[in-house]
């Protein structure tokens, strides 16, 4: 079912392509955008990530006058690790793909990271959340770009505990991502003097959360932590309102909420939610300009943090390919860590030895309907978490690549 390899083979070849460089395998740098094109994460990632990758190629080649020939392909992993792994193997083995970008759904992100290392290719992940990608599962061929569970826990989790939400009950999506987000948030809650009174693992994906919400209600925890994403998050928030849970004095903590989720919930239901993201379209002049172009190419839908991550990571990847004069996965990964990053969406940053891309994170609060000027005007900036505090410090990393 839906086993459609969407072949989007759109060559974004440069206008004045010179002769292919000898070190570039088969003369073309081929980037595979692998994500959820049809399921609950397809608005957060999906076709929008292909659009973002294509824009990155155009912008990079225009700005750098590079002679690279770049091709973008996209495929649907249907949120199934076996499907995702098969596509990745096929891409690397027979279709000459050099780098796989995006890959939401942590279980699949971890699988692709492993395959990329085994085959000496490169995976730059923007879609998955698990901090294990730059932690215990890190490898020399994987770079983790936009965000991770440690960052989310440290942003949203810490802010909520500090403002008095010190007893927690977790609704956790029952797979690698949910487990990682729950673990990292629990650590932050405990470290800041809070307490976890219970948790329930919900099958992924779930439509009806009412049963789990009742369990959360019975726990009397002040905060119900939603360690889930996409449709799971919107359904649980919506149903928590329906059951009067928020009126009863308990509050929800959406630990991973994306802009399209807020859009789909409507501000009535989402107002007041605290959330952490590393990108928001309305941050500055450059992000607004990017968003205008992106929305025009993406059916009017605004970019999510993942789309921004794909754009930024593809630019840095191409920069590293040009600098290393090769598209060999291991060498380019090393070059990506060596070069500082700089792009219009995330500003200046670095890629650390453990493969973690470092940039600031932002704690937002969702606006009230009366504060919003219209669609997508949803966030108020509460505070900026500087780059050096936003992600797990290297000293706490359990990544084998980090020398201690």
């Amino acid at each position: 079912m839906k086993r459609n390899l969407i072949s989007l083979a759109v060559a974004a070849a440069c206008a004045f392509a010179g002769s292919a460089q000898a070190q570039i395998s088969d003369g073309i740098v081929k980037i595979g955008v692998l994500n959820d094109m049809s399921g609950l994460y397809s608005d957060i990632t999906g076709q929008g990530s292909v659009v973002a990758a294509r824009m990155a190629v155009e912008d990079y080649i225009r700005a750098s006058k590079s002679t690279l020939k770049v091709e973008i392909v996209g495929a649907d992993h249907q949120n199934k690790p076996d499907v995702g792994s098969n596509v990745a193997r096929q891409w690397y083995d027979t279709e000459k793909v050099d780098m796989i970008a995006d890959v939401p759904t942590s279980s699949i992100g971890l699988a692709i990271a492993k395959i990329s290392a085994d085959k000496g290719k490169l995976h730059v992940n923007s879609g998955s959340a698990t901090a294990d990608l730059s932690g215990k599962a890190c490898n020399a061929n994987t770079i983790h770009w936009a965000y991770d569970t440690w960052m989310l826990a440290n942003g949203t989790g810490k802010a909520i505990v500090k403002s008095g939400g010190d007893t927690w009950f977790f609704l956790t999506a029952d797979y690698a991502f949910g487990h990682a987000l729950e673990r990292d948030t629990e650590a932050v809650v405990l470290k800041n003097g809070g307490k976890v009174v219970g948790k329930v693992r919900t099958p992924f994906p779930t439509q009806d959360f009412s049963s789990f919400l009742l369990q959360a209600q019975a726990s009397k925890a002040k905060i119900i932590g939603l360690a889930n994403a996409g449709g799971d998050t919107t359904n649980s928030i919506k149903q928590a309102f329906e059951f009067g849970i928020t009126k009863g004095g308990q509050n929800l903590a959406g630990l991973l909420v994306f802009l399209p989720d807020v859009h789909s919930l409507s501000l009535e239901k989402a107002q007041g939610l605290m959330l952490t993201e590393t990108f928001y379209w309305d941050l500055n002049e450059q992000t607004r300009a990017f968003t205008k172009r992106f929305a025009a190419a993406n059916g009017g839908k605004y970019p999510s943090m993942v789309h921004a991550g794909v754009y930024s990571s593809v630019i840095h990847y191409l920069k590293a390919v040009d600098a290393a004069k090769t598209d060999d996965g291991t060498k380019v990964a090393a070059k990506m860590k060596e070069l500082p990053t700089d792009d219009v969406l995330f500003g200046k940053g670095t890629v650390r030895a453990d493969g973690r891309k470092i940039h600031p994170a932002y704690l937002f609060e969702v606006k009230k309907p009366s504060e919003s000027k219209g669609p997508y005007d949803y966030y108020k900036l509460v505070s900026t978490i500087p780059a050096n505090e936003a992600f797990r410090p290297l000293s706490e990393s359990d990544c084998p690549l980090v020398k201690k």
């Binding site: 079912m1 839906k2 049809s38 399921g39 609950l40 994460y41 397809s42 608005d43 957060i44 999906g46 029952d174 329930v200 693992r201 919900t202 099958p203 994906p205 779930t206 439509q207 009806d208 009412s210 049963s211 789990f212 009742l214 369990q215 019975a218 996409g230 449709g231 919107t234 359904n235 919506k238 149903q239 329906e242 059951f243 009067g244 009863g248 399209p260 989720d261 859009h263 789909s264 919930l265 409507s266 009535e268 239901k269 839908k301």
Partner: protein, 294 residues
Amino acid sequence: MEIFGIPSQALFGQLLIGLINGSFYALLSLGLAVIFGLLNIINFSHGAQYMLGAFVAYLSLNKLGINYWVSLLLTPLLVGATGVLIEKTMLKRLYKLDHLYGLLLTFGLALIIQGVFRHEFGSSGMPYPSPEVFQGVFNLGFMFLPKYRAWVIVVSLVVCLSTWFVIERTKLGAYLRAATENPSLVQAFGINVPRMVTLTYGFGVALAAFAGVMAAPIYQVSPMMGADIIIVVFAVVVVGGMGSIMGAILTGFGLGLVEGLTKVFYPEASNTVIFVIMTIVLLLKPAGLFGTQK
């Protein structure tokens, strides 16, 4: 008082929730059972038609300002009419062939419909407010029951039982059942069998759309809402016995309860428990709990 370590009050709450989910299973599996029982078509586009119901309600509210109550009547008629069209133009050519052809056709239709809606509306889903009368909750002492969910149980029971009554206890139902057993004989009595079959399919589809409108205020109105639930509903129909109307209703509510309990005692298994039951039932009683072996 505690039952297996769970306070009994919490357990009542969970049972009630199970019953609400069971209402949707019952409404949807009822439509499937009617269609299979009378047309011998395994209607795989049932989930997509349920989703269509929710979307028609959403669009008519947002584009035309048509409220929930009018939608509840109009949407099933409209989506049912598309069902009539599908039966007239496509399904009726397949009656003489193996079940598999009907299944493949309706499955293909479902993929197309879902694909078109995903392309237009994205996957995150749209909000649909519950009607004003049903906003808020009843305090039952052991839990807060959203008024809208109480309404879902009542309506679903009424619709299920009246459908059962019409098919099993009235003259019209007798014609329908006779027409499935021996169409040419029934036709010989001057009854327009093809039209009856067409309308039956339309009715089954309308039931799916009705469930869709009922579901809109609870879940996000999203293109994949039907794909997620349809597999479970098929399991319900199989457990109940293909084609058995009462079987579909009772199994729908029953499995809703079992699933609700699983969510308390072993949440990780709550989306597989129905299939485990299906396997066991098929091993012990291949025709399903209420089905008869032909």
